[in-house]
Symmetry: none
DNA sequence: TTATTTTTTCATCAATTTTTAATATTTCAG
DNA sequence: CTGAAATATTAAAAATTGATGAAAAAATAA
């Protein structure tokens, strides 16, 4: 298994390299960071360890460019402070993150888990299905009997959460906290609007009443 | 949340106990270590802090035996020198480790993280059964022999309270306080109305006389 | 930049649930 | 048996909650 390290601090990079080599991975470490995308493409690794604080380009920009041509799984290396909504949003694919400083065994466990998920699944996309509706996380869309609809980021997150917790009432608060990460000042109606749009898109694909409202309690799929 | 400490050095053990109690965990600490497996089984904690250097048995043996009957998450306490491959291998489950000496906030963070991971993913359906009627809290409904009925929020709360206290008279006051949180100015008839509706829904599922009125005293299931 | 998409807010609407109120029924002491 | 107190029942009013469409704001892409 081939892992690419993208980390600008030399000591950390060396430690990582050593650790991963000892764990019997094939390791490549970048030393220049002005076109990470191209480097990833040419190295063609099975997994990327990506520091979010690079000198030349932000981790977010890098991952965005990367995703245009590659679905390689990424584990983000990040300071605790940077666990932002944005990062949260990026994790819907097969990716994961770990905060620095990290414990080596934890990192190795994460790597093993991510590889298992992506490779072990026989190179398939990560999907979630629920009552005939398939949620394609990588492409950000739902499909049902040949028909499909594109989802926006929030819609995807909501459906992801609901599909991950089927057959139980998911409270609005739960969803709001998951979506907006404790930004309490958000209008709680924003969620209703999103639900409305999700239902419209579900109907486009011929699905009705997949999400039930439990007035005063939440939603249930 | 209940944490079991397995650590033979008394000062460390006491420090840990204090730290965790202050963090509002329920704490048990072992003082004899010749059959840790059995102790864990009887204490049935939500998490184990396990020193890897115990006098009578190695941490590895303990965890191996433990895993036969329990999936309780474990955080290993270990000296820096012992970060071996073997430890590496044991961490692939939901477990984690921390090296001594450790900083309290780090330990607390690890504990919180592990508990969140394991409990959060638990996702068990909470159910309460009473005389053939099942109260499905997660879905907000009752079922009885294939038939089921949806409950509203108040109905659910009332039934939850009654089912949690079976075979004893629950006073109306008790229910009113539980439902409306000491808002005394509520019409006490509101409860009767709710009971009426609950009984109607029970009857929809073919159940009669589950809730008995004890005139002047309350209700009993 | 400008254009486009997405998200959020706002105003209003619709539906369900909760509460009130009016009336009926039950129970039990006298 | 009667009547008062407690609880039930029913229907209607009130309150709450969520849904919807459109516009404003923000984010993203071109």
């Amino acid at each position: 298994m081939h892992i690419l390290i993208v980390e600008d601090e030399k000591p950390v990079r060396q430690e990582l390299t050593l650790l991963l080599k000892r764990a019997c991975y094939e390791v490549t470490a970048l030393t220049s960071f002005h076109d990470v995308g191209a480097s990833v493409r040419s190295a063609d690794p099975d997994l990327v360890l990506l520091d979010l604080n690079l000198p030349e380009e932000s981790g977010f920009d890098i991952i965005k460019k990367l995703r245009v041509f590659s679905e390689v799984p990424v584990i983000f290396l990040t300071g605790r402070a940077e666990m932002t909504d944005e990062l949260n949003g990026m994790l819907l694919g097969g990716d994961d993150y770990i905060t620095k400083p990290f414990a080596p065994p934890v990192l190795l466990a994460r790597i093993a888990a991510v590889l298992k998920r992506t490779k072990g699944a026989g190179e398939e996309q990560q999907r979630l299905a629920c009552k005939g509706v398939t949620l394609d996380l990588a492409r950000g869309r739902i499909s049902h009997e040949e028909k499909q609809a594109e989802l926006t980021r929030n819609e995807l997150k909501i459906l992801y959460y609901l599909f991950s917790h089927p057959d139980r009432i998911v409270t609005r608060t739960e969803l709001i906290e998951y979506l907006w990460d404790n930004r309490i000042f958000i209008d709680d109606n924003a969620l209703s609007v999103n639900m409305s749009r999700i239902r419209a898109k579900l109907e486009e694909t011929g699905v009705r009443d997949l999400i039930e409202t439990k007035r005063g309690m939440g939603y249930i799929v």
